[in-house]
């Protein structure tokens, strides 16, 4: 796999430099660590998101007005270190505390939790909301084991919206937790991505095979099957998603059809068309649909579908303005 990179050990630093070269007017680098913050930080709860890199535009693309204030960026597929998290949190804290929002992975938890302890010693209060949207990653009985995938986007949006409203840390954490609890995703993998460092594929799949429920780091899914049509594939995904989420007729959702990297927008639109048909057939109200490649794994092929079940509080926050280079509402 050819990658347009220089020294593989510099990819994260250079990615951040390239991001800031373009969006320098709105963001600045946090000194000494791989992290960024918004320039116009406000007197409000700071929202810090992050995780391993390699999933661009996640996470950097989700800092901005009505979104995150700071982003802590690990190496490719590796959680950021405690001091990285800590430095970003310090940079965004206005005295009102910091909310961490990130996907449920052991590495991230270890590092963010350690950072939270260090911050506490400095008198900076923090709360954490884990994103656990991937319904294929563990059954409901082991909900706490579910991983975070593209659903991140919806939870970041709600957290950013709530913080922007000026709520206190406890309240921002509470509504963000609700958003996380109401966010459900499922994905399907077609082709692997490759690690920029080693050029190794994240998994292997036969030419005519796909895997339902595979994670964004190549974590094993729930079923490997033959390739099928877009409509069949979408039906399979939606069936499982509606079943797991218990979202039913009369309820209202926002939808994200997320590409994993190399899957084209054309394909995502074709899937989205079927998603809309299925939701309409089930009398589930579509509040909004977003079709984009927000949470990628290098040039991995495949997609995920995310549903955020809305109540009036979440809907108001979902609709609140948001503005970053890669996400706008």
């Amino acid at each position: 796999m050819k990658k347009v990179i220089n020294n593989p050990s510099d990819v994260v630093e250079e990615t951040i430099e390239g991001f800031l070269a373009a969006y320098n007017h709105s963001f600045r680098k946090v000194e000494n660590v791989n992290g960024i913050t918004r320039r116009n930080l406000k007197d409000k709860v700071g929202v810090v998101i992050g995780g391993g890199s390699g999933h661009e535009p996640l996470f950097m693309g989700f800092a901005g007005d009505g979104l995150a204030d700071g982003v802590t960026i690990g190496n490719v597929f590796a959680a950021p270190s405690p001091n990285n998290v800590q430095s970003v949190a310090q940079a965004v804290d206005s005295g009102k505390g910091v909310l961490f929002v990130y996907g449920n992975y052991m590495g991230d938890i270890l590092n963010f939790d350690m950072a939270a302890e260090l911050l506490e010693m400095e008198g900076i209060e923090s709360r954490t909301v884990l994103v656990r949207d991937d319904v294929a990653s563990a059954p409901m009985e082991r909900y706490e084991d579910r991983r975070g995938i593209a659903g991140d986007v919806f939870v970041f949006k709600i957290a950013g919206g709530a913080a922007e409203q000026g709520l206190d840390l406890e309240s921002v954490a509470k509504v963000t937790q609700k958003a996380s609890d109401q966010t459900f995703s499922i994905g399907v993998a077609l082709n692997p991505g490759t690690m920029p460092d080693s050029g190794e594929s994240t998994f292997t799949l036969a030419d005519d095979e796909i895997e339902f429920g595979m994670g964004i780091h190549g974590e094993p899914g729930v079923e490997r099957t033959k390739m099928m049509t877009a409509d069949e594939l979408t039906e399979r995904l939606m069936e499982r998603l509606l079943d797991e989420s218990k979202i039913d007729s009369g309820e209202e959702v926002s939808v994200l059809v997320n590409g994993l990297g190399s899957t084209t927008l054309m394909e995502l639109f074709i899937v989205n068309r079927k998603v809309a048909q299925i939701l309409e057939d089930k009398s589930i109200t579509i509040h909004d649909m977003d079709v984009n490649s927000y949470c990628t794994t290098q040039e991995m092929g495949g997609l995920s579908i995310t549903l955020l079940k809305l109540d009036s509080e979440l809907k108001e926050l979902y609709d609140a303005p948001a503005n970053s280079p890669y996400y706008k509402k």
Binding site: A78, A79, N84, G107, M114, D145, E200, P220
Partner: protein
């Protein structure tokens, strides 16, 4: 020529040299560790460990040390701050955890090493909430620490202790193949993880193996 029995104490500079050697060996094994992590994890363990020990080398080389606490803390802090991932905290703790609150020592001997790693093991368990048999680095580290303690209790030499620890780690790696992962990215594999050794456990074995090699080299050539 010094005999095994004579290697009782390492001063701070020697401990520093030993960990520089350990770092070299870990970095040499980057492809192996990556391959092992690819089988059931996300394939970045070799990269992470390499980054950690490169940073450790940088920070170790930069300074003269008088206490072994400082050397070990430097190794741990380098890993903790540079690696990220699950293993950044876990392997950082493997070094920092043991010297936290420990009175300063100018020399490292087997009893002190055993004490340090015993404390580290506890700290890792508190942090990561894993225990023996969960298919983590603990599967290699716990038996290694036990061997260190036994040898220390029996007044064995540092080299003897390390030889035993290496053996314990090695066996732990073998046993880790039979476990189902309860932590980290192999967790969702369930039964499918069986047959594959844990990447972090393999790192622990490499660390003890290269510590042993370095001390052995010292015995032979000193």
């Amino acid at each position: 020529m010094q005999t095994d029995a004579l290697i009782i104490n390492l001063n701070a500079t020697q401990v520093k040299e030993m960990f520089l050697y350990v770092g070299e060996k870990v970095r040499e094994n980057k492809p192996l560790l990556t391959k092992i992590d690819s089988a059931i994890g996300d394939g970045d363990h070799g990269i992470g460990m390499s980054i950690g020990f490169t940073k450790a080398e940088e920070n170790l080389k930069e300074k003269e040390f008088t206490t072994i606490n400082e050397v070990i803390k430097t190794v741990g802090m380098s890993m903790m701050t540079s690696m990220g991932g699950a293993s950044g905290v876990i392997f950082g703790t493997m070094f920092i955890g043991g010297v936290k609150g420990l009175e300063p020592h100018e020399k490292l001997n087997l009893p002190i090493l055993a004490e340090i790693f015993e404390k580290s093991l506890e700290a890792i368990k508190v942090r990561g909430k894993a225990s023996l048999g969960d298919k983590t680095m603990i599967d290699a580290f716990e038996p290694a620490v036990e061997r260190l303690k036994q040898c220390s209790d029996n007044n064995k030499s540092l080299l003897e202790g390390l030889k035993n620890a290496e053996e314990g780690a090695d066996k732990g790696v073998e046993l880790s193949k039979e476990y189902i992962a309860k932590f980290g990215r192999a967790k969702s594999l369930g039964e499918r993880a069986i047959g594959h050794q844990d990447a972090g456990a393999t790192s622990v074995w490499i660390i003890f193996k290269s510590m042993r090699e370095w001390v052995e080299g010292l015995s032979k050539h000193a």
